[in-house]
């Protein structure tokens, strides 16, 4: 019985998780090393990778700052009523439930060229939709809950006794945060950041809708994969997909390593 269940699970994991990854690697190298490097060194690939990394950096920085502060307020703030905190807390998760395409659509509806806000920005010389700012906003929306969901439980668990002690002893809010709160939440922030990087690296639906997928302008790595597949340029698609997959697997391994390290301590 025991053997049967273990065997079934191993086969399942092999078929569902390992075989597809191996297939991508084979697909990227089916024309040898040349096909792989040609697919990656095309100017459109380089541009797409540049756009993706820019979005990842900006989104991660902005959402780390706002995510950590939001979690602090949702757990600690005395200036927010309990009811309001509960309400905000249940709203934080909403981006998880929103289909990425709908997330993109929301931004087009609010800031698209035909809307009042969009026209306002446009007359100021800034394009939001079908340009980089819209893609950043879409990715910010999609990744917002990740850090909050990692940090909040830790804040709830550690309680505020130490923080109160620090401020009774005359420490400023700033000092209390960096000397008392930060050391206990830093690992959860790291996990949140890793998840945010992985998600913004791989975001597809929302970015596709908002960007318009314009070559050399708003094309990201994932939307280029999509376009290459549509154009039957499979080797190139596989090469980029392999790079993206390698990136996310590395992040996953880093996270596993960090978690196992923390368990030991």
């Amino acid at each position: 019985m025991r053997r049967l269940w273990i065997g079934l699970t191993v086969v399942l994991f092999g078929l569902l998780l390992i075989v597809p990854v191996v297939r991508i690697i084979m697909g990227a190298f089916n024309e040898g090393w040349r096909g792989f490097s040609d697919g990656l060194s095309r100017p459109e690939t380089l541009h797409a990778l540049f756009v993706t990394s820019m979005i990842v950096v900006i989104v991660t920085v902005v959402n780390t700052v706002f995510g950590v502060m939001m979690s602090l307020y949702l757990v600690r703030a005395t200036w927010l009523g309990k009811r309001i905190k509960q309400l905000l807390n249940s709203i934080v998760d909403l981006p998880f439930a929103v289909s990425p395409v709908i997330g993109g659509l929301m931004i087009v509806l609010l800031l698209g060229p035909e809307t009042a806000l969009g026209a306002l920005f446009n007359s100021a010389g800034v394009d939001i939709v079908y340009a980089i700012p819209g893609m950043i906003i879409a990715t910010l929306f999609v990744t917002f809950p990740l850090i909050v969901r990692e940090v909040m439980p830790v804040l709830q668990e550690i309680g505020n006794a130490q923080e109160e002690a620090a401020s009774t002893l005359g420490a400023s809010a700033w000092t209390t945060f960096w000397r008392v709160t930060w050391p206990s939440i830093q690992w959860s922030v790291v996990y949140g950041v890793v998840l945010t990087v992985a998600r913004s690296l791989g975001e597809f639906g929302a970015v596709l809708v908002v960007s318009g997928n314009i070559l050399f302008k708003t094309q990201t790595a994932t939307t280029l994969v999509y376009q290459d597949v549509e154009n039957f340029n499979l080797t190139a698609a596989n090469s980029i997909a392999l790079v993206l997959a390698a990136g996310s697997v590395t992040l996953l391994l880093f996270m596993e390593w960090a978690k196992s390290r923390r368990e030991v301590h």
């Binding site: 025991r2 597809p20 998760d93 909403l94 906003i137 597809f204 639906g205 993206l244």
Partner: protein, 271 residues
């Protein structure tokens, strides 16, 4: 005195900045889409929803997501059980692999499944010989959905199994219960909350999935056109009203599921 005042200004600044960010980034867009769907009045909204292609896409999505959820509830429970209860070489590796579908970009997942099931692949040829095609048909959509929602049930059941006292199980055995009875009467009830909340999250994710599905679905209206791809098509062809109407339907279902899960989890924690 001045430093206190300064501190107060700072904290006011931070508070308003964070709240403003939250309202503008999360709350505005969501309420915006509900508002927009009704902007041309109820009848236009009703017209867009009763459009046969629209509700067929939504129904198809619900049907496929349900099948996906059932598959994942079974397979996920088994995997969680094996990963927690049994010790065997490679267990840690498999346990880390569980999160792979969350880490991989969905477009990459779509491409993987396209390659695996395509006409020139092993699976594709077998299916061809047996007289049916997987790629661009409903089975391909289900496989894509199963892949992206794979971790939910496992990750929800694992902590419950870890927490579970083995004393209940041992008591059952001592009292002469068979393995099957013990499983159905003692172990399964303990895992059930995890299976249910994992399954609901998987269902809501399967409803929303776009990237993995768009590449492998044939997108034939009524047969393989799922809601998120339908919405994308409507946006591309500039029918924003049609897109918002279907979005609102899909969003409402997802929100209800999310809140139910949160509510159930909160009650379990407090009770």
């Amino acid at each position: 005195m001045s430093s206190m005042l300064q501190g107060r200004w700072w904290s006011w600044g931070f508070r308003s900045a964070v709240m403003l960010y939250f309202v503008v980034l999360i709350i505005f867009p969501i309420f915006g889409i509900y508002g927009q769907s009704l902007s041309s009045g109820w009848s236009a909204f009703a017209d867009n929803i009763t459009e046969p292609l629209a509700w067929k896409a939504v129904l198809l999505t619900i049907k496929l997501a349900l099948i996906t959820t059932i598959i994942n509830a079974l397979v996920g429970t088994m995997s969680a059980w094996v990963l927690i209860r049994y010790r065997f070489p490679g267990r840690r590796l498999l346990n880390s692999l569980v999160d792979l579908p969350f880490a991989l970009p969905t477009a990459v997942v779509g491409l993987m499944i396209l390659l695996l099931l395509g006409p020139h692949s092993l699976v594709g040829e077998w299916a061809e010989k047996l007289g049916f095609t997987i790629l661009f048909h409903q089975p391909a959509i289900i496989i894509a959905m199963v892949f992206v929602t794979f971790p939910f049930v496992i990750r929800a059941v694992q902590p419950l199994l870890e927490e579970m006292e083995t004393s209940d199980e041992e008591a059952a055995y001592t009292l002469g219960a068979s393995r099957a009875t013990t499983f159905w009467r003692v172990i399964l009830p303990n895992m059930l909350p995890g299976i249910l909340s994992g399954a609901m999250l998987a269902f809501s994710r399967a409803l929303a999935e776009f990237g993995a599905v768009v590449l492998v679905a044939g997108n034939i209206p009524g047969k393989t056109l799922i809601a998120s791809v339908y919405i994308f098509g409507e946006i591309e062809s500039d029918n924003t009203l049609g897109a918002t109407a279907v979005s609102v339907m899909l969003l409402t279902i997802s929100f209800l599921i999310l809140w139910t899960v949160n509510y159930v989890q909160m009650r379990r924690k407090n009770g």
